[in-house]
């Protein structure tokens, strides 16, 4: 079940990871997972299999849950994430959630600019404007919003909001972008746009994409991992996993039977 990776450098490695939420043992000894740089790495599995929990462990926002207990090892570029300052970790590992969550009363512009200013990354106003524009162009939102950058983000459509929060995350230039079912709450047109965007982003960033949709994993991911009941069943290059799954459960899942 452990896939021996090709030559690409590994960004995130997971060894013997166990996560409990209260009394529930959510992630059970997840081991041998290695996420290659500049790839789209999909995590698929049925509802409740622990996909979101795994993703939230990578940027340690799982710790916002006081009942969470995490054991095991996760490294980012070889560095143990649990001995890093979580704030610094989160600037390197961005996240997009299932539910679009811009700051609704804040302007479209400030949604992107706020963290750049607050984190002390950019102070120069002109430079800030440049970044806001470039990330909005990157997510193909610029043409739709450039005339109303000062209006509140809450007024955008769900699909636009989701692209805005992707832009907000990208502005911080993270190495890794965690995306938790980013297309499940938006309409088909926006879902396509976001999938398109993910394949474009891969050139410069590592994307960990949670999906409960095997078709989506097949369409846009380079690697795929299959979680089932908190266990890592198998992972590898998407083509291989889908054509010749090594596990019966995986085979049933990709055929839509689990």
């Amino acid at each position: 079940m452990v896939y021996v990776s090709d030559s690409k450098p590994i960004v995130i490695r997971v060894e013997r990871l166990n996560v409990w939420l209260g009394r529930v043992h959510v992630l059970k000894d997840v081991s041998g997972l290695a996420i290659p740089r500049n790839s789209v790495f999909a995590i698929m599995g049925p509802s409740g299999s622990g996909k979101t929990t795994l993703l939230k462990t990578f940027n340690r926002i799982i710790e916002l849950n006081r009942d969470a207990r995490v054991e095991g090892k996760v490294t980012l570029d070889g560095e143990d994430i649990f001995s890093m300052d979580p704030v610094v970790l989160r600037r390197r590992v961005g996240m997009v959630f299932q539910q679009p969550n811009p700051f609704p009363h804040m302007s479209i512009y400030d949604n992107i600019a706020y963290a750049l200013r607050a984190n002390g990354i950019v102070k120069d106003k002109a430079r800030l404007r440049e970044i806001v524009r470039s990330v909005l162009e990157q997510v193909h939102l610029w043409d739709e919003v450039n005339s109303r950058l000062n209006s509140p983000a809450g007024k955008l459509s769900g699909g636009q909001q989701q692209r805005l929060v992707i832009a907000r995350a990208l502005a911080l230039k993270p190495e890794v972008l965690l995306m938790d079912e980013p297309t499940s709450m938006v309409d088909v047109v926006n879902a396509r746009k976001i999938e398109q965007l993910i394949t474009e982003l891969r050139r410069s960033i590592t994307i960990v994409l949670v999906t409960h949709n095997p078709q989506q994993a097949m369409r846009i991911s380079d690697y795929v991992a299959f979680l089932y009941d908190g266990r890592l069943i198998e992972w590898g290059p998407t083509k291989i996993v889908f054509s010749t799954p090594s596990n019966k459960l995986t085979e049933m899942y990709v055929m839509g039977r689990v």
Binding site: N101, N119, P152, R168
Partner: protein, 279 residues
């Protein structure tokens, strides 16, 4: 079935009407009697000093309005930051023991008899700490009364932001102070409402001021430590006095006080309606 429904409808209607009655009656009495006095005294009523008892003069309530504004302003200056910081702590660390205790304490304090708060503040700050019957003592009493209202309201106002954008803010690698600022700004409409509701509450508050303010009303407080008088206390004392002109002044002051509180509630409605997706 039909008959039963009609019966319930008429019962609920009657009860509602009954509840309305004293409300309109009070409002009517205050508006009528107060307006008579204000018409006679003119706008100077808001500025002039109170009259001598048993004369024909109405004078005004300028000194007590100044006193009320001073102590309410000082109370707000004390209570607002404390309330908002407490509300933020309760919101951001809702599972922590301190936050839970804080929340429970606010729920109790909001129901606490204000007369007890008044006497306690007078004993502790007025006597033990030597602040005496001063504007500061009075404003501390009012602040203690205001804090639970404003805190609870602010906690409620920040609930939805906490749910909707808290994780997002943390995931951006923002430090706690910036996360707090986002939660606070996102809940701004409700937070402002909380401050205004607290303000309305303490503007009309009488019981604690009986212990902490002066009962001579012809004084202008010029520092936090000087004695102060307040509108509700003047109403209380003048209404019970045997002098017709003082009783009239009490009616006029009642109308002014009601209008102030009403004005604050109108501001509350406005800030609430702005709490949506605007601003």
């Amino acid at each position: 079935m039909k008959g039963q429904e009609a019966l319930i409808l008429s019962l609920t209607l009657a009860a509602t009407a009954l509840v309305f009655a004293p409300f309109f009656w009070i409002l009517g009495a205050v508006a009528y009697n107060g307006a008579l006095v204000l018409a006679k005294a003119g706008l100077g009523f808001l500025l002039k000093r109170p009259p001598l008892p048993g004369t024909n003069s109405l004078g005004g309530i300028g000194t007590v309005i100044e006193g009320s504004l001073l102590i309410v302003g000082m109370a707000m200056a004390i209570a607002t930051p404390l309330s908002l910081l407490t509300a933020l702590h309760i919101t951001l660390h809702e599972d922590s023991p301190i936050a839970k205790l804080g929340r429970a304490l606010m729920d109790i304090m909001v129901e606490f008899p204000t007369i007890v708060i008044g006497i306690s503040v007078f004993l502790i700050f007025g006597l033990a700490l030597g602040l005496g019957l001063s504007a500061l003592t009075a404003s501390i009493a009012l602040a203690v009364i205001m804090i639970p209202y404003t805190t609870i309201q602010a906690v409620e106002a920040m609930k939805i932001p906490k749910e909707v954008v808290y994780e997002a803010a943390v995931a951006l690698g923002l430090r706690e102070g910036h996360v707090a600022k986002i939660i606070l700004t996102e809940g701004k409409g409700g937070v402002i409402t909380g401050v205004l509701i607290g303000m309305a509450k303490i503007f009309g508050e009488t019981a604690p001021l009986l212990f902490t303010t002066a009962t001579s009303f012809d004084i202008l407080a010029n520092s936090p430590l000087s004695p102060v008088s307040a509108v509700p206390v003047l109403i209380f004392v003048y209404a019970f006095s045997p002098y017709t002109n003082w009783q009239e002044v009490a009616w006029g002051a009642s109308l002014v006080l009601s209008l102030i509180v009403l004005g604050i509630y109108i501001a509350v409605r406005l800030s609430l309606s702005k709490g949506g997706l605007r601003e």
